[in-house]
């Protein structure tokens, strides 16, 4: 015979003001299995928990019902109280009479009380069918995989490695550094991007706990939290990194010139190249789509000049495997192509450029040695018009969201322009100035006051050519008039967008992504670093547009999450997982399809006892299962059981109301 204890909480006035708590306590007593029913002002407090512990012992209870707030708040607290009293913690049921009753039915005390009675009756009935469950232990491989070697991936890798946990850092391009390596100076302090980034890049390369795999991509991920197996494709670089000294003779002598993507195609690089002088690793790769030796079998100059014999034209892609316990996704961002802005003449006028092109020009190590020029004639511009929100906050042509960083980098560009060309003038067309961040508003003021940039609130409707100038026509909403600015150069602050490969990567990793292609976090406020898949975390712009401080903070948060995950030798997880009863399983595999966590696979078992013929049944990996119950609902033969939510428990609940 079950012996249930019911503990009803006032929650100060939160519950007691809207529910007749003493009546609820009396109502519970009418159920014959209930051996004790009491109330207390704050059940979660230490004395409250003490009441539960004492009652368990004194009344020899077999299960406990706490009628209080949401189990999300205090389920763990009360489970611990049960454990402390020597009871299996999963014999607890929480009746949520706060969020589900008192808070939502504040105008009708009678109805709220009745609903509380129902909820408690259900919890009591369910608890009677509760079974003793035990936490699941999962082994853990203490190595992290970081995908992407921009500032987010670099920071996450360094922080994890500093905790003496091995890290494999996979970077798609030949060098780590990412977008930040392309920047000249950074807001709001104007410190040189390269100066603060390159030491970290070097740290990555030399860190004993970091394995850096450049020019590679993750192509497969199997397994579950603590036990992932990743397949990594090392793209053929045609250069043997182990013998290459990075002397640069090959890149100097290579005769093939190709638009330089690192410099936004403003200048040219060679077909064998290192993306930039401070690249890590500082080893060249051959661009197979342009190398004449690989395309036509002619040339081979690089091989001739290489003293170490490191060039190998026969190199092929190689796939390697790594076992890891956790994954950090840090794939960064792309920029929106402003081509739809036909009324600006984008694509027709050379002197309309994007902000990242401007950034490369003003960079001291950039293609124009730090001086902005007009692409059409190479002259130094005097009047420069910056237009913000190109593609951002634009439902018609671009995307709906704010890209977050453009207000700040445009202010920075106005200041940098002034530094590089003293007699220049910056005009900035904007919709709003969003400068929320430490030192940000002051920085924008600096652009407005110190460099006397003209901020014009309004959209640009048209750009047309007049002689060799561009006429920028827009609205100045503050004076309510249309204005025209004669510009030598126009710079478009194009929107931040998710990398185009994000959706395919998300699918192969088994995490979700949003309609824009950004990776989805598990909870927008309380779990912004985790994905819904255990053991996979997000750092930087792969989740949403972010500036450098936010990116670094999130990357460090990822590292803390990984370290926490690896703190014990095994991972503990709730036992609320599904199991398959093979005898009932028909092998229809509907559960495989509906499982959002890819926790269900199939296995072959003998058709009958001792039979050699095989049949297919579903198999659930309890390490991956999150206990959502989708498989239970879809299973036609009722072969799946979800611990903690078994059929008898659910049926008891239904019967109780």
């Amino acid at each position: 015979m079950a012996r249930v204890g019911v503990f009803v909480c006032y929650c100060g006035a939160n519950i007691a003001d809207f529910i007749d708590v003493p009546a609820v306590v009396e109502e519970a007593k009418k159920i014959k299995e209930v051996k004790i029913s009491v109330l207390y002002k704050y059940m979660c407090s230490d004395p409250g928990q003490g009441m539960i512990r004492d009652a368990i012992v004194q009344n020899r209870l077999t299960s406990v019902v706490v009628a209080a707030c949401s189990p999300r708040m205090h389920e763990k607290t009360f489970r611990k109280a049960l454990s402390d009293a020597g009871m299996n913690p999963y014999m607890l049921e929480v009746a949520n009479i706060r969020e589900h009753s008192s808070w939502v039915h504040q105008k009708d005390k009678k109805a709220a009380t009745e609903k509380a009675n129902d909820l408690i009756r259900m919890a009591i009935a369910k608890s009677i069918a509760n079974e003793q469950l035990h936490e699941i232990s999962v082994p853990v491989t203490k190595r992290a995989l970081v995908i992407g070697g921009g500032i987010a991936g670099i920071q996450a890798a360094l922080d994890i490695a500093d905790a003496r946990i091995p890290v494999t850092l996979v970077e798609k391009s030949p060098s780590i550094g990412g977008r930040m390596a392309q920047l000249d100076e950074t807001f709001p302090t104007l410190d040189c991007s390269q100066c603060i980034l390159t030491p970290k890049m070097v740290d990555v390369a030399s860190h004993p706990y970091i394995e850096l795999i450049p020019y590679s991509e993750v192509i497969e991920l199997d397994g579950y939290v603590g036990n992932y197996k990743a397949k990594i494709k090392k793209k053929a670089s045609y250069v043997d990194f182990s013998s290459c000294t990075g002397c640069g003779a090959c890149t100097q002598k290579c005769p093939v010139k190709v638009p330089n993507e690192f410099n936004m195609n403003i200048d040219k690089r060679k077909a064998i190249y290192t993306p930039f002088p401070q690249a890590v690793p500082n080893k060249p790769v051959i661009d197979a789509t342009h190398c004449t030796m690989l395309l036509k079998g002619k040339c081979g100059i690089c091989a001739k000049v290489c003293e170490k014999g490191s060039i190998n034209f026969k190199m092929v892609d190689e796939v390697i495997e790594r076992e890891v316990g956790a994954v950090v996704i840090a794939t960064g961002y792309d920029l929106w192509d402003p081509k739809p802005y036909e009324e600006y003449g984008v694509g027709r006028y050379k002197d309309i450029i994007t902000s990242l092109e401007f950034e490369r020009m003003v960079s001291a190590s950039g293609p124009t040695n730090g001086v902005p020029i007009r692409p059409s004639d190479g002259k130094v511009p005097k009047n420069v018009v910056f237009i913000k929100c190109i593609g951002s906050r634009d439902e018609a042509k671009g995307i709906e969201y704010c890209s977050k960083i453009c207000c700040m980098y445009t202010a920075k560009h106005a200041i940098l322009l002034h530094h590089k060309v003293h007699d220049s003038h910056a005009y900035i067309f904007y919709m709003d100035i969003r400068a929320a961040g430490k030192g940000y508003e002051e920085f924008v003021k600096r652009a407005q006051v110190e460099t006397a940039a003209t901020y014009l609130r309004g959209r640009v409707s048209k750009i047309y050519k007049k002689g060799d100038k561009l006429m920028v026509r827009g609205e100045d909403a503050q004076i309510g008039q249309v204005v025209e600015v004669e510009a030598d150069l126009v710079v478009l602050a194009t929107a931040v967008i998710a990398p185009k490969d994000n959706p395919s990567l998300a699918r192969l990793l088994g995490v979700s992504y949003d309609k824009y292609g950004y990776m989805s976090e598990a909870h927008p406020k309380l779990r912004p670093v985790e994905t819904a898949k255990a053991g996979i975390f997000l750092a930087g712009c792969t989740q949403a547009p972010k500036d450098i401080p936010d990116t670094v903070a999130q990357a460090s948060a990822c590292a803390a999450k990984v370290c926490g995950l690896f703190a014990g030798d095994t991972l503990k997880k709730d036992p609320m997982v599904s199991t398959i009863n093979n005898e009932f399983c028909s092998g229809c595999q509907n559960c495989v399809k509906v499982c959002p966590y890819q926790a269900i696979v199939t296995e072959e078992i003998p058709l009958g006892h001792g039979s050699k013929e095989l049949r297919t049944v579903a198999k659930i990996n309890e390490g991956v299962c999150q206990g959502c119950g989708s498989c239970v609902a879809i299973c036609r033969s009722m072969a799946i059981n979800l611990a903690g939510f078994t059929d008898p428990q659910i049926i008891n609940e239904i019967v109780a109301i």
Partner: protein
Amino acid sequence: MNKLTYFPGCSAHGTSEEFDHTLKLVMKTLDVQMEEIPDWNCCGATSAHVMTENLALALPMRNLVLAEKLENKTMGIACASCYSRMKGTKKHLDENPEQAKRINSTVIDEGEYQGTVEIKSMLQYCFEEIGLETIKSKVTKSLSGLKVACYYGCLLTRPKDVTQFDSPEYPMSMDLLMEALGAKAMEFDFKTECCGASFSISNTEVVESLTGKILEVAKESGAHLIVVACPLCQSNLDMRQPDIEKHSGKKLDIPVMYFTQLMALAFGYPEKELRLPKHIVPVEAALKHIGDPVPEPEKVKKTKKAVEAESEVE
């Protein structure tokens, strides 16, 4: 022979008679039989839709019902404003079948609206259904040497979800059509700017400032003349020029022609068929540029392989 339902609109029978006339000549050469909708009515223009929505829908709807009776696949519309009203109405009626039924049964006695006719501007019809290759094949007198600025106005390609034709901001169909005739279409930034439309009557100053800007930029582009596909654009650009010149003191003197006039010329019709005396700004001098020597275009020859096109071997 292709058959085309034709909606001329009121200007074609009046101020833009030269458009209507040359359009018919051109269509004859292109082997298209035009069937004008019998007993067509006003599209409602700018007046109806500022008065009442139902009237603004009912007027074009009656024309659509009449057009359906002719059983041709496409209806071609000469005037850009009529085109906008008719096509916008069709979209609205197709999306709101109940309202369509109500208007149909209340005020239109000519039959039941089906929504089966495809509506195209005459420019769109030439570009999409006849095609540049066919047009090119009919050219007997190339317009080579003539430089033109193609002006589309605001309604031919806008709004995009209604017109479903060409780019709303920088269309190229008329430019390509002119190049097919042998003329050179100049880069022209103001090709979709508003000319002031019917404010021509009520607020002439606005029209003069908007039109003045368009004419100025067209002139700067180096064009000998402006090509249009809309009667109201033509009359604003052509008729207001003397006043604009008087107020600004700048000489413009740039003729404004319909694309069909130039097509007729290229198809070998004599100049007198173009109805040139109807123009305010004289056209004859501009047309003398036909046959001017054309300088070799400075084209960088690209190699066939895309790979090589991008790279450059020292």
